[in-house]
């Protein structure tokens, strides 16, 4: 390996002007040409800030105090501007939709060349060549609305590769992608690196998904400091992940449950390298010891969807013959790739759209004639982005809004708002401005503002999107609390961990039809369903296969039951 590092942080600290404390403390990090580095850390650990320092957004767009030095290719970054740096470092930002500048894929790929005054014919030629590398050559004329999440990400990748940069920086490349597309994204990044020998830096908190392919080193950031710099095997065997709240791979959790000593000797960094000779017996014994969970929900039906079909334009059906029966107090996940009809189904429930055929029953009564406002009192819908729902500056007013719209006397409003704020753990913040809250707290405010109307069913769209493990757990445990109080919860999600851990039942949509309505453990181990719905099989299943446990689905279900027993203890 080349002795000269391509990126060299020396005693580097950074403080944003608007903040009292530095975000990065005394960073010392050398990255060598051709390395593939993963930077993990919980939200607020400074990992995105570290990325901004490398690509020049700091100090170009976000000003602040820099101490120490950062050199890229031997040149101090403070002597370069963002444009010079962009010739060395290509950045793919996390929201591949928002960063799509052009009106077509081709135009977006060409953006950097346009800014460099590259002549028209040369530009078209280079765009074609790069598009071929990411397999987008036939889609150059497509608009962002016609492209899937994965295709948009390929476009972004091509857009930075066109400059022939030395370093590719990916800022949370897996956010907003469904599991299968995320897996492909990791494969593409790896393949490109192998062909081009570029240095690759991935910033992500979803460790297990990135470790689908080889990584040279993992850097762990916490509270602005590097707390670990090691290979995947060492990291997974260490205590670091637990300490800073990053989820370890599920199969590692299973190994630990089974009492297997996880050390770097068994190569646990990747499921493909894991040596199971020593752990097989322990796994089988553990699996046999788990008592089956036989609690079945025998409560009456609360929501019944019967033969519902829907189409926006009368030509292409978005939902076809949907039949779902949900019982009181259930927690169900609704999964499937983008465009499968999940959001549309939630719109039908809220009454934003009207079904073309079929009927929807709430506690046995047809809700066809209920208005949007009336339905909100039985089925509350929470949008993914809290910023899309919050319209008042103060928490109290925001939560009270729905009641005020219903002309409920102010003294009753006070009682109800205070009660719901307490339930949501927001009571200490009653008089706070919403702008002072974290993302997770804002999410709670939006849930509170819906719960205050006392709906019996809550539909949440991607409640944990973009959240690190700690916030994810916080939000989900909060939902479990609400669920225990008797609210039926429907979760629209891409997150397979969420499905496995929190929802015993999963409904899978593909192409507007229900292709499965069964236990999450069955869904995530059935190759046919996984393929049709762009899911990814859980590593627990792979573990069972490697360890030679014949009934993988049963093994996964055992894991879920075991975890549930742990929690309920």
């Amino acid at each position: 390996m080349d002795k000269q590092p391509i990126i060299d942080f020396q005693h580097f600290s950074f403080k944003y002007f608007c903040q009292a404390e530095p975000t990065l403390h005394d960073i010392n990090l050398k990255i060598y040409p051709g390395e593939k580095i993963l930077i993990v850390g919980p939200s607020g650990s400074g990992k995105s800030t570290l990325g901004y320092c490398v690509n020049g957004l700091i100090p170009f767009s976000y000003a602040g105090d820099i101490k120490g030095t950062l050199t890229i290719n031997g040149v101090d970054t403070r002597q370069q501007n963002i444009f010079e740096l962009s010739k060395t470092v290509g950045t793919v930002l996390q929201d591949s939709d928002g960063q799509f500048v052009g009106l077509t894929a081709g135009e977006d790929i060409a953006f950097a060349l346009e800014n460099d005054n590259v002549p028209h014919t040369v530009m078209h030629e280079r765009v074609k060549k790069v598009a071929k590398m990411v397999d987008m050559q036939n889609l150059l004329a497509s608009s962002p609305f016609e492209l899937s999440g994965g295709q948009k990400q390929r476009t972004s990748l091509a857009g930075v590769m066109i400059d022939d940069v030395d370093i590719l920086l990916f800022d949370e490349p897996l956010a907003n992608l469904d599991p299968a597309t995320g897996k492909t994204a990791i494969e593409i990044i790896d393949d490109i690196r192998k062909i081009s020998k570029k240095t690759v830096i991935i910033i992500e908190h979803r460790l297990e998904d990135v470790l689908h392919r080889d990584i040279n080193r993992v850097i762990v950031l916490n509270d602005g400091r590097i707390i670990a710099d090691m290979d995947a095997h060492e990291l997974v065997s260490s205590h670091v992940l637990k300490e800073c709240g990053i989820r370890e791979p599920l199969y590692v959790t299973a190994l630990k449950y089974a009492g297997v000593k996880v050390t770097s000797d068994i190569c646990p960094g990747y499921i493909t390298t894991l040596k199971t000779e020593l752990s097989r017996d322990a796994l089988i014994a553990w699996h046999r010891s788990i008592p089956a969970d036989n609690r079945h929900n025998r409560k009456p039906s609360i929501l019944k969807i019967e033969d519902v079909s829907f189409s926006y334009d009368g030509i292409r059906t978005v939902l076809e013959d949907i039949n779902i029966d949900i019982r009181e107090g259930e927690m169900v996940s609704l999964v499937g790739k983008n465009g499968a009809g999940k959001s549309t189904l939630s719109k039908l429930l809220s009454g934003f759209e009207k079904e073309d055929r079929g009927r929807i029953f709430y506690k046995g009564k047809d809700i066809k004639d209920k208005t949007i406002k009336e339905r909100a009192e039985i089925i509350g819908a929470v949008l993914q982005n809290p910023n899309q729902m919050i319209s008042k500056p103060m928490i109290y007013d925001e939560v009270a809004l729905g009641l005020r719209f219903r002309n409920i006397p102010e003294d009753q409003i006070e009682v109800r708002v205070e009660k719901v704020l307490k339930v949501c753990g927001l009571a200490p913040f009653t008089d706070w401005p919403i702008s002072a809250l974290s993302y997770g707290q804002k999410k709670r405010v939006t849930i509170a503002s819906i719960l205050v109307l006392n709906p019996n069913i809550l539909v949440l769209d991607e409640p944990t999107a973009g959240q690190d493990f700690r916030h994810y757990t916080e939000i989900m445990e909060f939902l479990v609390e609400i669920n225990k109080m008797g609210v039926t919860i429907i979760l629209i999600t891409h997150d397979m961990h969420l499905m496995l851990e929190y929802t015993p039942r999963a409904i899978v949509l593909a192409g507007g039809r229900i292709i499965a309505d069964t236990a999450a453990s069955v869904v995530l181990t059935d190759a046919r369903i996984i393929k049709q719905a762009n899911l990814k099989e859980t590593s627990l299943y792979n573990l069972a296969q490697i360890a030679g446990i014949p009934d993988g689905t049963h093994f996964v279900q055992g894991f879920i039951d075991y975890e549930r027993n742990l929690k309920n203890r």
């Binding site: 962009s86 939709d97 052009g102 135009e107 530009m123 949008l383 729902m389 719209f405 819906i450």
Partner: protein, 279 residues
């Protein structure tokens, strides 16, 4: 929903009009608009209008795409006509120099043939811009439009801002719809039953979250553009720019001729900007 989302936005169909370069369409639009704006000759105006409606048909624009716009413009024009009459009921008499009364209305207001003719002319003058504008908007790829604006000498940053607005317009529309639905679920009344003051307040309930979610979007896009070198040079090239072909020159010639003809009619035939049938 999908047809609604496409409203006012470029739709890609292959017609001779779509194939013209954005620059050509911009210049033709300007020539023809200046022609009808310059002339108060109803014959010229109706001819240009008929011509642009023919083009509208050739470019396969459906009425449903422009219905909303047409309704708004008609409301504006009718209001304009009524107000013009109330403020200057004798304008026509002043311009044409004769006075043929049709009917006495009330007070000082008398309807004259001159006024009627003047207002009809004015109505068509404005109305004839609608098809022109619609053709331009609906057949020009926004980035190509930006590149043509840039070629006419306008700063490329300003030109790009136009393209970017059009690029994100559907996203903002979608946000708007999501937010409005979420607020309706909480009990926001957007129907016409609500009082005007309440409706104004309701609009704020949607606009505030829309602004906040758009600000997030803006930060992201400006970072993405910086990282890929936008605005580092004084000029830039355009992926979508088209070379001017023979049909572009023909279209330009035709529009220029129409413009020149209008000017000639004014100078040599009418000897004024007004066509006077009353003498």
């Amino acid at each position: 929903m999908n047809t609604k989302m496409k409203l006012f936005s470029y739709n890609s169909v292959d017609t001779p009009i779509h194939r013209l370069s954005g620059l050509t369409k911009l210049l033709c639009f300007l020539f023809l608009t200046f022609a009808v704006m310059y002339s108060y000759d109803i014959r010229v105006i109706l001819l240009v209008m008929a011509f642009s409606i023919a083009i509208l048909i050739i470019s396969k624009i459906k009425f449903s795409q422009i219905r909303l716009m047409v309704i708004y413009v008609l409301i504006f024009l009718v209001t304009n006509t009524v107000i013009t009459f109330f403020f200057s009921p004798e304008m026509g008499v002043e311009i044409y120099g004769t006075r043929h009364e049709i009917a006495h209305l009330f007070g000082n207001y008398t309807l004259t043939s001159e006024q009627l003719f003047y207002q009809i002319t004015k109505f068509f003058k404005y109305a004839s811009v609608i098809p022109l504008g619609m053709i331009f908007l609906l057949t020009t790829n926004p980035s190509e439009f930006a590149s043509s604006l840039n070629r006419t000498g306008i700063n490329y940053k300003a030109a790009f801002a136009v393209a970017l607005t059009l690029r994100y317009f559907p996203d903002i529309q979608r946000d708007y719809r999501d937010i409005s639905q979420a607020q309706q679920a909480r009990g926001l009344d957007l129907s016409r039953k609500a009082r005007f003051r309440d409706r104004f307040k309701s609009a704020l309930m949607i606009i505030i979250p829309l602004i906040f979610s758009s600000l997030d979007r803006i930060e992201l896009i400006s970072n993405a553009m910086d990282l890929r070198g936008f605005a580092k040079e004084k000029t830039r090239t355009w992926y979508t720019s088209k070379k001017l072909l023979r049909q572009d020159y023909s279209a330009l010639t035709i529009s220029a001729l129409i413009f020149i003809a209008t000017v000639c009619v004014t100078i040599f035939i009418n000897k004024s900007r007004f066509y006077n049938p009353f003498i």
